[in-house]
Symmetry: D2
Subunit: 436 residues, 4 copies
């Protein structure tokens, strides 16, 4: 017995590239094998509970545009919301979902009440997961919406907020563990500042590191096998967010000895806001050994805030999955759509169509990326470009067997005067366009 | 016997705030004591040789606008340029200058010839320094203008370019040492990429780190007592520069074990391009223990490239010097004007006027900052804001004496439910406006 | 009998530049005469009802942080809100305020009910105005918050929304007229698009022009003597807002023959978002003959959205008022603070302190600008720069007495070969710094 | 007898989508008929002389990287350059080219000499055109590179520069006329300002309008049948360029009565810099009746300056050509590549490969756009969305048959209370992805 929210729509079928049915997949065939692995196992799609079921369509200049039967209620509405959510996961064939505590349970009057509410809904989710086979990609704590967090969670000037945040994280880690979640994510939406005038960055770094250490310790204590992921974002809602981008978080992890315990959940939109491409952040995380998972939602290049749109540009997405494949693909991570409908897309069907479009583009992108990898289309020219470094003298120089003055002497002795060689950017861009 | 380039203009006098003489200082009185130190010793002004004497007024859409008698020549013109430069340092009363090799010597046909040219001009500079008392704040190598560096210097796919760069750096470190330079700076203008398609970031990081290690080793070998400084910039000329911002460089230093050997030269314009305020980068460098020196030239907020303008907004500059003072002030570092005239400012007098304006604004900013420090105007409210963390229970939590679950238990036991307190941003902004 | 909201705070006194009392003015002395006019009559300060009394401290990632006794209520709460608002106007000595319908009255279940609610509160305001002497600078309609406007007001694809918008504007124009408002403002927050894919720009321009024509006609019909003002903004909440900037609105007015009926309300923050300086938009509006009024709230240069902060950078503000003075000063317009507290500034006192700081900075800016005007500090060099155009031959050329080929002939005949002259930007910037 | 610059490469063949030959077209088959017209006649490709043959690979931090045999010379080198250029047009099968005077002729010591040089090279071009069948899409004058234009061309404070600019334009219009050019373009690279402090915007507008009037008059006088096109750009090299974007230029044309004489040459990269999408500028120009031609070179979204890259994102390009087709396609206009190689792409082959990639992407984009048009894929949902406006009452309202108060009365009488309808953005985006 369904809720009827999506009418009579049943499981979205794969119909192939020529399909014009908006409620079909044209490229996402979960069982198709790509580079020796089923597409479903490559992509590991997850639906974000918050945007699809908790967000009401508001923006800074206007309120709720959606009209959902589960709004404005307590536990019964929370369960109706869960019913619809799991119906949607099944209709889409999405193997995973993700959630914050605040998305799924009513806020209590006290922390204890909030925690109990969460536990009740977690039990409800556990039954749903069993019924549907849908799994939890990651859980997380909302430490940014309630006014108590307005000046930060772990970085709050008030140690009571730090404590409240710690307790909240614990309850969310317990929930994630119980639901078999494969990762636990931290996004520090309020860990940053509005003005340096009222901020002691040094203290706040120590506070944030303390919290992260406690999270790692608790993970080990309870035997949670998933990854701890931090999601960088440069700003918004804050003027400056401490977890600015992959490079910044890496430096922080190094400073506090956490670089082997924490990985990255990288979002396209946040990469853009930080002045990077998505593939840059992915390549960097891989280079630094901290690649974890992705939020595959695009940002409007023109808007200065995070628009969290469903992805739709296949050439860009192919470059992202190319980096994912080069990093070895996902292990605990996956492809989460941290994406929301445009606030004018108010029909239930819009929710399905948006995810279908996003999943199909990911499938196209992945397949293009896989073919580039298999053909060595980009790798071969790359190896060629750096071939000079394979020579023994170059390797010695790289390994530190020469000092600055020894090299200088050699430059003069051999009259080294290097001629530049073409970077061939347009050639390589044309190659990519053969695959997308 | 002067060159006559600046006509009859002699040393710029301090005439006080009411002066309307464009060739006088209104605020910069080198001998005025601020917080127990002469202003000159606080600010440690340096003139950048490249912008003031080597740059010809070109931009991407037009060529040379300036018309200087030392253009288009060889060693004799290089010496004339030096004569004018040292005349200007004296007229301004600027205690320091900074240079790249390429600013000061003609390019040779071979590396050896370039090196010899540099050595000849270094000898000439040494005599000029002695005559004038002007000192070298820092030297640096230009590893970005010549086409051989188009694909990077230390990060070039061609190891010969790496070697050529190493040799160049050595010659510049030698020059800096010989001239008594107080720092040696590295700005990796081409260390980055135009497209990831032809870039192996992982290799290039290792190459860049190798070079930096060699620089540090050579510094110790020759007994150079100054600081090695890296100047971050996020992009331009590259699409992505590896030394993106302070946080990024810090992570890099940590990864390669260089965090105790290298400090930051922070430029306002580069901070802006990276999505930060100048004071953010200063505060962060101080927090991370890697604050070194500043390039006090502003960027136009509207332009998407580095405009390197002379600074002129005193309220912003006061906040920058406030961070410098909080970091303990400069030790080896100083205030370099990495600033160029607008290309329409073609008169010799414009060079003086631009520096006078910049120096005067720095003086105003410093004095305002010093009064804020002395009054505790911002520090007192800050301490008050974090006062809760001084309590023993909070300190225990911060020091790691409680685990996540212990804190969670306490939150429930004590029913902790924190009330937010005002961040008072506008109040603090009004306080700053009392000083500027 | 006051509401007690601001405790015992009474009228904010002017205490002079040395005052350290946060509840005093240091520069704003309403009666001080500047360029022959009282400062109050120059600046014509207005408080924005929406930000100060209706906005609850929410942002895209968090809800209400403020805790005001008038929240969550109907007409009684609306009147309490008005009581506090007028108390604040008096405490500040602000001569004007501004409001949207939605700020001041409860939303009704029907349009008629909303209109009646507005009329009731307008009567209440009328009495308050009489008691306090506070006046209405401008009224406006909120055609963006309610979900009915999600796809535009006048530009909605549904003509019923156009009609509803027209009716709403009429009621707000009536209210403004009744309260003696000196202007009526239109800000088209939803007049734009999220995607061109569902947008017919051509139709929507015609709809928007029709509405504006009706507004102008109705103004004349009811004998409203104030100005009709459009407030440009480039984006946010929309991806593209049709009233992008002053230049764009000007073209629109021209296209539809409205350029003599409509003027501009220019906001600093919106200028920044459109890629301009505030003074650019002011100078342009003045040049085009459509300068009206200002929203003197700054935008954070780093944030990509409209932060609507209280202004605090005096040098920038002086340049803005310099343009206002050059445009002849305000006639019906004034200085509105379309500014909101930071959401962490939750104390009633913060409301006062923010306005005091803003008003004081405006006063400083105005006084600096007035002195620049009086001294001809910038005008003299400007006239000198264009002096060549005063010559008869140049004037003939400008007036169209020569054709392209006649001028070409003359260039060859006289071998015209112009030498560039210094633009003296740094000199002029130093001059400005003598005044701020 | 060729120059040998491109070695043995001959005319680039069309080989179909499966071709892996980098020197073949995969999609651009000039004779393929799309919507009843040959692709060549739709796309009307032009090569930009300046980027491909005059630009030397410099950027603000480095000089020439290319090494071309025609550099550093006088008329003989200019002719060699022309030989290579026309060879490339033939190899590519590009039907058009575009040039500035400064790209093609040596600068003379006087205006007369420069003019004569231009005339000599124009004769040379005329013969080349005849031999090859290649045509001139548009000519233009370079009024920005020489230092005489540093403070503007028509907007210069010195009337002699205005005169010099007029003479230059005349010579370029004559050249364009003689070579059968189909348009004449004005890009006002220096018509703007670096600082308002030294700028009288009002005067400069009048100067700019005078020049444009003279251009239009001269066009009619000489019987030039092509279109006069203005190319907007918001900034760079200036801080503010007067021809900011399409909307701005439109207002300017209206102000000076030129809106029926001048059309737009719209560049993707400039649209991006102005905060718009390319399709926005195209749709707007079409709506305003001033669409002319396009510069189909993309900008890097991350870089804050104009990168003028060859286009490579087919989904974006399809949306651009969709607007072109909706505007009726090109008449005098065409698809110019105002695109330059990356400065590391130093091989002659790179020049060909970059153009091939760009042309192929345009062909793909055009074909996708054509199918969207033919299917009414986007038009049908659009018509449906605005269907309400087709009703007689709505049309009356739009035509101005009701006043504001009449509509208000009707809203109350009929209790109009519109319900929002889905904007279906994701649905429409998925439709587009069926075509690209
Ligand atoms: Co996001
Ligand atoms: Co995310
Ligand atoms: Co710089
Ligand atoms: Co610098
Ligand atoms: Co605003
Ligand atoms: Co406003
Ligand atoms: Co361009
Ligand atoms: Co162009």
């Amino acid at each position: 017995m369904g809720t009827g929210f999506f009418g009579t729509i049943e499981k979205i079928p794969f119909k192939g590239a020529d399909s014009t049915d908006p409620l079909s997949y044209r490229f996402y065939d979960p069982d198709e094998v790509v580079m020796g692995k089923r597409m479903e196992d490559h992509l590991r799609f997850a639906v974000a509970y918050w945007h699809s079921f908790a967000w009401e369509g508001g923006d800074p200049f206007g309120g709720r545009t959606f009209d959902r039967p589960w709004y404005d209620g307590e536990m019964d509405k929370a369960k109706l919301k869960a019913d619809v959510a799991f119906e949607m996961f099944k209709i889409l064939g999405a193997p995973y979902y993700c959630f914050h505590d605040a998305d799924v349970r009513p806020e209590g009057r006290t922390f204890a009440e909030s925690r109990k509410n969460l536990e009740e809904i977690v039990d409800y989710f556990a039954r749903k997961q069993e019924e549907t086979g849908v799994k939890l990609l990651w859980g997380t704590a909302n430490l940014f919406s309630n006014r108590r967090f307005m000046s930060g969670a772990s970085t709050n000037p008030d140690p009571d907020v730090f404590a409240y945040s710690a307790a909240t994280i614990k309850s969310c880690m317990d929930a994630t563990m119980k639901l078999g979640g494969e990762n636990y994510v931290l996004w520090g939406g309020r860990e940053g500042y509005e003005t340096l005038l009222n901020t002691d960055m040094s203290r706040e770094f120590d506070q944030m590191a303390r919290m992260l250490h406690m999270v790692v310790d608790y993970k080990h204590k309870i035997g949670f096998k998933g990854a701890i992921l931090v999601e960088p974002k440069p700003q918004e809602p804050t003027k400056h967010q401490y977890d600015f981008d992959v490079a910044t978080v890496y430096g922080f992890l190094r400073k506090y000895g956490l670089e082997n315990e924490v990985k990255m959940n990288i979002e396209q939109g946040h990469a853009i806001l930080a002045g990077h491409t998505f593939e840059h952040e992915l390549a960097l995380a891989s280079t630094l050994g901290i690649f974890g998972s992705i939020d595959m939602n695009r940002n409007d290049y023109q808007s200065g805030w995070d628009t969290d749109q469903f992805p739709n540009n296949v050439p860009e997405m192919a470059l992202a999955y190319y980096q994912v494949l080069k990093a070895g693909g996902f292990t605990t991570g996956g492809t989460n759509f941290d994406a929301k409908l445009r606030r004018q897309s108010i029909d239930p069907e819009d929710l399905l169509i948006a995810h279908i479009g996003g999943m199909d583009c990911c499938a196209r992108g992945l397949k293009a990326a896989a073919r580039m990898v298999e053909d060595g289309a980009l790798q071969k020219p790359l190896d060629e470009r750096y071939a000079g470094w394979a020579k023994p003298e170059a390797q010695k120089m790289l390994k530190g067997e020469y000092s600055l003055d020894q090299i200088a002497e050699k430059v003069e002795r051999d009259n080294i005067n290097p001629e530049p060689r073409s970077g061939r950017q347009e050639y390589l861009e044309n190659i990519v366009n053969r695959y997308v």
